[in-house]
C-alpha cells in the first residue's frame, strides 16, 4: 500500500505527517519557535486517527507524558527547540535507562540560551549525544530536505521501537520552515517496525534480560507480565542493584545494543568522494549548500567531494573513513563553533588535515563561502 501525493509543504509539517505515517498516536509538547508547526499539525491530525494530543505545562512534563504513553504501548513523540531540548534531558536519560521507545524532534535555532528564536543553528550536535548524564545510548538523525524530514521521522520511530531507545531527529530552522514540492510515499505497513512485546511464560520473563539482539521484550500493560521499571541501575528483573558485576553488565548492554546494530542505524550519502582531493563533511541545510559548492568546484577542476551523515550518532565511522580514503584533507562545515568537527578530527587523526568552516551568527553558510574555504584549503 503506497500512495503518492505531490504537494508543497514545510519541513515541520512533513515531520508531523511522517510521525503519523509511522504509527505515532501520542504527542505531548510545549510550543516553541521554530518547532511549533509540528505541534500544530499533530493537534489537528492526531484526533483523526484516534490519537491523542496534549499540550503540557512545560517541556519537562511533555517528555514525562511521552514516556508514560510509550509505557502504555503507544508510539509517542514530542517536538521542541534548544531551550526546551535542555529541559527534556533528565527525562531523556530516564527513557534511555528504562529502554522506553520515544522520538524527540529538535528544530535547532540560534543559541545558547534563548538565543535567536527565528534563526537557524546547528549548535545541539553534542547536546543531542551527551545532553543527559551518564553513559547512555541514543540515536540522532539529521535530515537535509523536506522529503527527508518525512522519511527520517518514520525511520526514527522504526529505530526507536526496534532498539527500545530514544531517537532524536535534529534539523534546523531553515529546514523546519522551508517549503518544498514533495511526493510523500506512505510507508507499507510491513515496513514499520513494531516493538517486541513479551509473550509466553510469565515465570520465565525477564523485563531487562539478555537476549541475542540485546533488546529485551517489553511487557505490555494488561498482558499480565510482572515487570518493574526504575531509573536506578537495575538487574534483569528490573529491580535496583549496586552489585558491580550486574551494574556493569546492565550499562554495557545499553551501549552494546546500539554498537551491535550500528551498521543498520548509520546512514549517509556521498557525492564525488571516489577521486576527491578534499572531502567536505556537512549535514542538514549546510549539506545542501555544500552539494552546490561541490558542483561549482568540480566545474573549475577542483576535485571536491561531499560526505553527508544522515545519522549523526552513532556516526557512520567506517563509511567516512572509506569516503576520505584517497583525500588529502577534509573540511567540516557546520553552523556552530565546531562540534561535529571534534568527531571527524578524532576519526581521521593522522590521515590528513581537518579544516573547519563555522558560522554562529544565525545565517546559513552559503555555497560560495564553502567553495572559497575549499579553494583556500586545497593543497
Amino acid at each position: 500500500m503506497s500512495q503518492v501525493q505531490r504537494q508543497n509543504i514545510q519541513g515541520n509539517q512533513a515531520c508531523a505527517l511522517g510521525a503519523i505515517a509511522a504509527g505515532c498516536r501520542f504527542y505531548a509538547g510545549y510550543p516553541i519557535t521554530p518547532s511549533s508547526e509540528v505541534a500544530e499539525v499533530m493537534a489537528r491530525e492526531l484526533p483523526k486517527v484516534d490519537g491523542m494530543f496534549i499540550q503540557m505545562e512545560d517541556e519537562i512534563a511533555s517528555m514525562g507524558a511521552v514516556i508514560g504513553a510509550s509505557f502504555g504501548g503507544a508510539k509517542a513523540m514530542t517536538a521542541t527547540s534548544g531551550p526546551g531540548f535542555s529541559l527534556k534531558q533528565e527525562n531523556l536519560g530516564y527513557a534511555a535507562m528504562t529502554e522506553t521507545p520515544c522520538v524527540v524532534i529538535n528544530v535547532m535555532r540560534g543559541g545558547p540560551s534563548t538565543g535567536m528564536p527565528t534563526r537557524p543553528g546547528q549548535g545541539d550536535v553534542m547536546q543531542a549525544r551527551w545532553g543527559t548524564h551518564g553513559d547512555h545510548p541514543i540515536i540522532v538523525l539529521a535530515p537535509a530536505s523536506v522529503s527527508e524530514v518525512y522519511s527520517e521521522t518514520i525511520r526514527a520511530f522504526n529505530l526507536s521501537e526496534r532498539f527500545r531507545v530514544p531517537v532524536i531527529v535534529l534539523f534546523d530552522e531553515t529546514i523546519g520552515h522551508l517549503l518544498e514540492t514533495v511526493e510523500l510515499l506512505a510507508p507499507a505497513p510491513e515496513s514499520l517496525d513494531e516493538r517486541k512485546w513479551a509473550n509466553g511464560d510469565d515465570n520465565a520473563y525477564l523485563p531487562y534480560g539478555e537476549t541475542e539482539d540485546l533488546v529485551p521484550a517489553m511487557a505490555r500493560p494488561g498482558d499480565g507480565f510482572r515487570a518493574h521499571t526504575t531509573g536506578l541501575t537495575h538487574d534483569e528483573r528490573g529491580f535496583p542493584t549496586q552489585d558491580p558485576a550486574i551494574a556493569s553488565r546492565a550499562v554495557a548492554r545499553l551501549l552494546e545494543k546500539i554498537e551491535l546494530h550500528s551498521d543498520q542505524i548509520a546512514s549517509y550519502q556521498t557525492l564525488h568522494c571516489d577521486d576527491a582531493d578534499i572531502v567536505i563533511v556537512a549535514f542538514g541545510i549546510v549539506a545542501r549548500a555544500a552539494q552546490r559548492a561541490v558542483k561549482t568546484l568540480r566545474a573549475e577542476g577542483i576535485r571536491a567531494g561531499l560526505f553527508r551523515p544522515r545519522t549523526l550518532w552513532p556516526f557512520p565511522e567506517q563509511a567516512l573513513l572509506e569516503a576520505a580514503n584517497g583525500a588529502k584533507s577534509l573540511l567540516v562545515v557546520e553552523m556552530n563553533a565546531g562540534q561535529l568537527a571534534l568527531e571527524i578530527e578524532r576519526l581521521c587523526a593522522g590521515r590528513g588535515a581537518v579544516h573547519r568552516l563555522n558560522r554562529i551568527d544565525g545565517e546559513v553558510i552559503a555555497p560560495a563561502e564553502i567553495a572559497d574555504a575549499v579553494r583556500q584549503a586545497a593543497p
Partner: protein
C-alpha cells in the same frame, strides 16, 4: 534548465510578501515546476525586514536558498541592503517607486513602478503585494497569467477577491507598459 530560477519578494513586515511568494509557489507547482520557499522575518507583526524566496527547479533543488537573484521585488527601502550584492547582472528588479527612494544600481533591468500608489488608487494599500506579484510575473514571464489568476482566486479571502483581481490586472498592465 541549466540552473535554478531564484526569485525574491522583499519589503517590510506586514506587506504580505510571504503570502505573495506562497501564491507564486503554488502557481508554479500547478505548472509542474518544483519550488523551495524560504522566508525570513523579524519577531514583530509589522515593520522590519521581511522576505520570502523561491528557488524554482525541475527536480529537487540542490541548494534550496537564494544566492543569485534572477527576479526581485522590493517594496520597502529597508529591504534593499539585504539583496544588493546578490542580484545577477541580467536580473529583473521591480521596486516601489514611492517607498524605495534609493533602489539598487547595476546592469540589471530595473523597473521603478507605482506599486503602492496603484494599490491605494484601487482602494486598499494592502493589495500592493498582489500588484507587485503580478508585475514581476509578467515581466519575468514566470508563469501563465490565467494560472496565476486562478491561484490568487483560490488563496483570496472573500472580501479580497475583487480587490485582488483588480490588483492582478493593474500589476500586469504596469509591467506591459514598461516593456
Amino acid at each position: 534548465m541549466d540552473r535554478e530560477l531564484e526569485i525574491r519578494l522583499s519589503g517590510s513586515g506586514g506587506q504580505g510578501l510571504i503570502l505573495a511568494a506562497g501564491i507564486l509557489a503554488e502557481a508554479l507547482t500547478t505548472e509542474g515546476r518544483n519550488v523551495a520557499q524560504s522566508q525570513s522575518y523579524e519577531p514583530t507583526s509589522r515593520g522590519g525586514l521581511s522576505r520570502s524566496d523561491l528557488v524554482v527547479s525541475d527536480g529537487e533543488a540542490d541548494y534550496p536558498l537564494v544566492s543569485e537573484i534572477d527576479c526581485l521585488v522590493i517594496l520597502d527601502q529597508v529591504a534593499v541592503a539585504a539583496s544588493r550584492d546578490m542580484i545577477r547582472p541580467e536580473a529583473i528588479v521591480v521596486t516601489d517607486a514611492k517607498t524605495v527612494t534609493e533602489p539598487p544600481a547595476g546592469s540589471f533591468r530595473l523597473a521603478e513602478l507605482p506599486l503602492s500608489e496603484t494599490a491605494i488608487t484601487l482602494g486598499n494599500r494592502r493589495i500592493a503585494n498582489i500588484v507587485a506579484l503580478s508585475a514581476l510575473t509578467a515581466m519575468g514571464g514566470l508563469c501563465d497569467r490565467d494560472v496565476l489568476k486562478q491561484t490568487v482566486l483560490r488563496r483570496s479571502p472573500k472580501t479580497y477577491v475583487d480587490l485582488n483581481m483588480d490588483a492582478l490586472h493593474a500589476g500586469w498592465e504596469l509591467a506591459e507598459r514598461c516593456v
